[in-house]
């Protein structure tokens, strides 16, 4: 970035991370500070790089589902789903309708989990501890639904090539419905704090502004782009059952931290609504369609993850091992934007601005 190389006479360099309480994950941002203003940022990543892309080429393609799921612990279901979709396309596997709806339910549940987690962490980054605690208390509703579904709080592991490996019975569906009602009520109670509270606005409005034009050029995705007025939402590609569902991307035009905050908050309600709609519309039928072919050819899958567009480029060569599995996660796409929006703001704004793009380092580095 050109901005980062500005020569300034007296500068302090602050290494932010790799171990830092605001970020649960290790990334190092080297800030050059001049009179309490950020004048330069150099991202230093690689603390979590594991080489999953490479590992995907060495494994049996079926085993990759659980490996891809662990690209990221937060949006794990979506990673597994994106990978499965790609393999399904390469092996000409038709996914049953019910499985498509179930996949939507669970990916929206992932989104809920992720957004609530983020809202909490964001509250924490601006020093609003009680809000953090309360949002995380309510997030437990989602986690307990996860647990009732698959027995695990974090990794659902329900997605499989050809559909899903777990069906929902009536009891579970009603649990989901009541859980969604409760969650909606709870978040509605907390929402005014984000909309109206003056002190929260003081910390967020006008901070980390990313204009629409710049956002497009920097390739921002997800809530970061939508907070800058770009109506970009991969769900509108209509993968899985999204083509049968009724929704509009949540867009705010201001491009600052507050806009990104509101996008995510409103997406929480949107996800709740989508889950309810799916549960209503879900047809009966099988949930799995097995196919023993080996993947052949190349395909690109793009889905909307909580943080934005997730990109899987999978190439098969007709054997059980893949030729290439390229994963581009949304946070990686947002890093140029992040580096850009930090410059010019105060040290005390670093934490909320960094949090506002919802960096998921585990995804970024794979």
């Amino acid at each position: 970035m050109n901005e980062t190389e500005q020569p300034v006479e007296v500068n302090t360099v602050i290494p932010f991370g790799p171990q830092h309480p605001v970020l649960p994950e290790p990334i190092q941002l080297r800030f050059t500070i001049h009179q309490d203003k950020v004048v330069g940022v150099v991202p230093n990543i690689g603390y979590i790089h594991r080489g999953i892309e490479k590992a995907c080429e060495l494994n049996d393609y079926k085993k990759n589902v659980s490996l891809c799921e662990r690209v990221c612990g937060i949006c794990n279901f979506m990673h597994a789903m994106a990978y499965c979709e790609a393999v399904e396309e390469l092996t000409d596997t038709e996914v049953p309708d019910r499985a498509k709806y179930l996949r939507v339910v669970w990916s929206e549940l992932s989104r809920l989990q992720s957004h609530l987690l983020w809202l909490g962490l964001f509250a924490d980054s601006i020093g609003f501890e009680s809000l953090f605690m309360h949002i995380w208390r309510d997030r437990e509703i989602v986690l307990s639904l996860n647990e009732k579904t698959s027995g695990h709080r974090i990794h659902l592991s329900t997605c499989a090539i050809g559909g899903v490996n777990k069906d929902m019975d009536k009891g579970l569906i009603s649990e989901y419905k009541s859980g969604m009602e409760l969650l909606e009520r709870r978040i509605r109670e907390l929402a005014p704090v984000f909309y109206k509270d003056r002190s929260v606005k003081d910390r967020t409005v006008g901070k980390g502004v990313l204009p629409k034009k710049r956002a497009m050029l920097l390739g921002a995705v997800g809530p970061t782009a939508r907070g800058s007025g770009i109506p970009q939402d991969m769900r509108r590609l209509g993968y899985e059952a999204y083509s049968n569902l009724d929704f509009e991307p949540v867009v705010h035009d201001e491009g600052d931290v507050h806009a990104r905050l509101l996008v995510r908050l409103e997406e929480v309600f949107q996800s709740i609504r989508l889950i309810k709609e799916c549960l209503e519309k879900m047809p009966e039928g099988p949930v799995m369609n097995k196919n023993r072919r080996f993947p052949n050819g190349a395909t690109v899958v793009r889905i909307e993850q909580p943080r934005g567009e997730l990109f899987y480029n999978v190439m098969g060569n007709g054997t059980k091992r893949l030729r290439r599995c390229r994963i581009r996660t949304p946070t990686l796409a947002n890093i140029p934007a992040l580096v850009d929006i930090l410059v010019g703001y105060d040290v005390s704004d670093i934490a909320p601005i960094v949090m506002s793009v919802d960096p998921c380092i585990s995804c970024t580095e794979r």
């Binding site: 980062t4 990543i45 690689g46 490479k54 390739g219 690109v300 190439m315 990686l332 140029p336």
Partner: protein, 592 residues
């Protein structure tokens, strides 16, 4: 994949990218595929309505042109490509020099904690279970791998780092390593002991090229030339000290020489290996008995290591024990081993005791012509301290075992009559956790025997002039793990301390004491071998690759042939067997 345009020229390519930017396309990422000498890079763009892919094929050494001048955001993807494929992307606006994701520092730059060698925590995953089980912590995984790779000399030297007698241990060790092996559960452990023997036996010349440290001018006396004493002498010698071993027999070997029957450990192997070690370390052996330790210090020795062993056989403490025809196990064994005589044992022999010594004595008696040999043990088979291999070999040779029987008295005569009492195991346990035997009332029975051999344990026969503190059972009292005694400058180890034990335990104590003595003399102890992470080999992805290999079994002499003489019973591995066996190692030390 949808829409694809193939462009090969860099200039044209950049033009296309610029075009896309004018159409307000969003840059997504680059997918790179390695095609040997060329690389294929696919650039993905999103125009809002469709996905546009640009494919660029370039030779590897040429690298990719950077598109950061058009899309500044591409610096992340391009740095990533630079990292993952080690190719140059020219003209990057923010070049992280191939260090975005990966660190260029090798793994070794991270210092591994010292806990690794010392065996404190976390021993869990770094040593390998075999190595953890070994009293002397011989680097089993390493030498097994070296044998698998065909590096016999390296394997032999790996063992020498911790235990100086691979050939001997390869025959007589009770092989705790094999019991530690994770395949032991399936009754197919990697035969580390035989691999050790294979390494030693395949060498033409046992003597190794060892750098002795600069002479320190210090003199150390080692009293006793058994496994512990020789080990201490060997390591001290390598550290540059002038070592003298005082061995009253004049021939080194101690218990290995005197008490291990020749059909388990041939004389030539024993002699060759000890001679090699003595030569390597420049040890002087003096054939004389030491009367007093003070004398040694007066003769100018700076430190003393006492490893005199335990020769005094324990008595049964029963009536008639001193009758003719009742022998101590050590007498019989050393008669044959040291003096080369063949004592007359008669037709029926009763051996009392359950240790390796008892089993060895029984097997020796079979070879001396006894027709019926019975081992009497007061506990049950599970408690028997003798190693299972030995017991099985003895049974194959026609030795009978009678458990839960304890002698009450011996009636002299020809033949001797021995009255036994049956025992049962009580619920309460002794200090070693074994169930106590208690007599079963009214169950006495009498047997006849020409010879009775006592093999119930040994005690130290400490010369009066030594002036060392002893414990309540007469063993030399030590203050720490290295074996420091009550006297300054004197260390003790081997069977003379605590209890008679195995060769490998003696070696461990000898080595520990050598290290302590060196520190006492101003050195820094035996240097620990540096762990080289590169020596750790990942195991195959597929477990069946390892589990599919058949275990190798060595050839043994037929029992009928065996009892005709004192030839070595067990055979070693052939080259193919050994490499195959070594490749069965699961490599627990690499990763769990």
């Amino acid at each position: 994949m949808t829409a694809q345009r193939i462009v090969s020229d860099g200039g044209v390519f950049l033009e296309k990218v610029r075009e896309l930017r004018e159409r307000d396309a969003r840059f997504i990422t680059i997918t790179v595929i390695d095609c040997g000498d060329r690389i294929e890079a696919v650039y993905h763009f999103d125009t809002g309505s469709e996905l546009v892919n640009l494919r660029l094929e370039v030779p590897k050494e040429e690298g990719l042109p950077s598109i950061t001048s058009v899309y500044s955001a591409a610096f992340v993807a391009e740095n990533e490509v630079q990292d993952q494929y080690k190719i140059k992307v020219s003209g990057l606006s923010l070049d992280l020099k191939g260090r975005m994701l990966k660190s260029d520092a090798p793994v070794l730059a991270v210092s591994i904690p010292s806990a690794l060698e010392g065996g404190t925590q976390p021993t869990g995953r770094k040593l390998g279970r075999c190595r953890e089980s070994c009293p002397a912590m011989v680097n089993v995984p390493k030498y097994v791998r070296q044998i698998a790779a065909g590096d016999i000399e390296g394997a032999y030297n790996t063992i020498l780092e911790r235990a100086p007698f691979p050939a001997i241990l390869g025959r007589v060790c009770f092989a705790a390593c094999e019991r530690g092996c994770r395949q032991y559960r399936d009754e197919r452990p990697v035969r580390c002991r035989l691999l050790k023997r294979y390494a030693a036996d395949s060498l033409v010349q046992l003597k190794q090229r060892r750098e002795r440290a600069k002479p320190t001018g210090k003199r150390v006396a080692v009293v006793g030339g058994g496994p512990a004493g020789l080990t201490a002498a060997y390591y001290l010698g390598l550290l540059g000290h002038e070592v003298t071993v005082f061995e009253k027999r004049g021939v080194c070997g101690g218990a290995m020489l005197a008490y291990i029957p020749r059909f388990r450990l041939p004389q030539n192997v024993l002699d060759a290996e000890i001679a090699a070690r003595i030569e390597e370390a420049g040890i002087r052996v003096e054939a004389r008995e030491v009367e007093s330790l003070e004398n040694l210090f007066r003769q100018g020795f700076d430190a003393v290591f006492v490893a005199i062993g335990a020769q005094k056989g324990l008595k049964l403490m029963i009536e008639g024990e001193d009758s003719p025809g009742v022998y101590d196990v050590m007498e019989i064994l050393s008669e044959i081993n040291v003096y080369g005589r063949r004592p007359e044992v008669g037709k029926i022999v009763a051996v009392i005791g359950g240790g390796d010594g008892a089993v060895d004595a029984a097997r020796v008696c079979r070879r001396l012509g006894a027709e019926s040999v019975t081992v009497f043990y007061r506990r049950s088979r599970e408690e028997m301290p003798a190693s299972l291999d030995q017991v099985e070999a003895a049974m194959a040779e026609g030795v009978d075992f009678m458990c839960l029987a304890s002698p009450v008295r011996i009636i002299p005569g020809k033949p001797l009559k021995v009255v036994f009492q049956k025992m049962q195991l009580a619920q309460e346990k002794d200090e070693k956790g074994r169930r106590k035997p208690v007599p079963l009332p009214g169950s006495e029975f009498t047997i006849e025997a020409d010879t009775v051999i006592r093999a119930i344990g040994q005690r130290v026969d400490l010369p009066k002039g030594f002036n060392l503190e002893v414990d309540e059972r007469g063993f030399v009292a030590t203050k720490d793990k290295a074996g420091a005694t009550s006297m300054k400058g004197v260390w003790a180890g081997g069977d003379a301390v605590v209890r008679p034990k195995s060769v490998i335990e003696g070696i461990k104590e000898g080595r520990a004491a050598a290290s302590a003595i060196d520190k006492y003399l101003g050195g820094s102890g035996i240097p620990e071998p540096v762990v080289d992470e590169s020596e750790l080999v990942p195991r195959p992805h597929d477990a069946s690759e390892i589990l599919g290999i058949e275990p190798a079994t060595p050839k043994c002499l037929e029992p009928t042939v065996r009892i005709k003489g004192f030839d070595e019973v067990e055979g070693g591995f052939e080259r193919d067997d050994a490499t195959r066996e070594a490749s069965r190692c699961w490599r627990c030390d690499w990763n769990e």
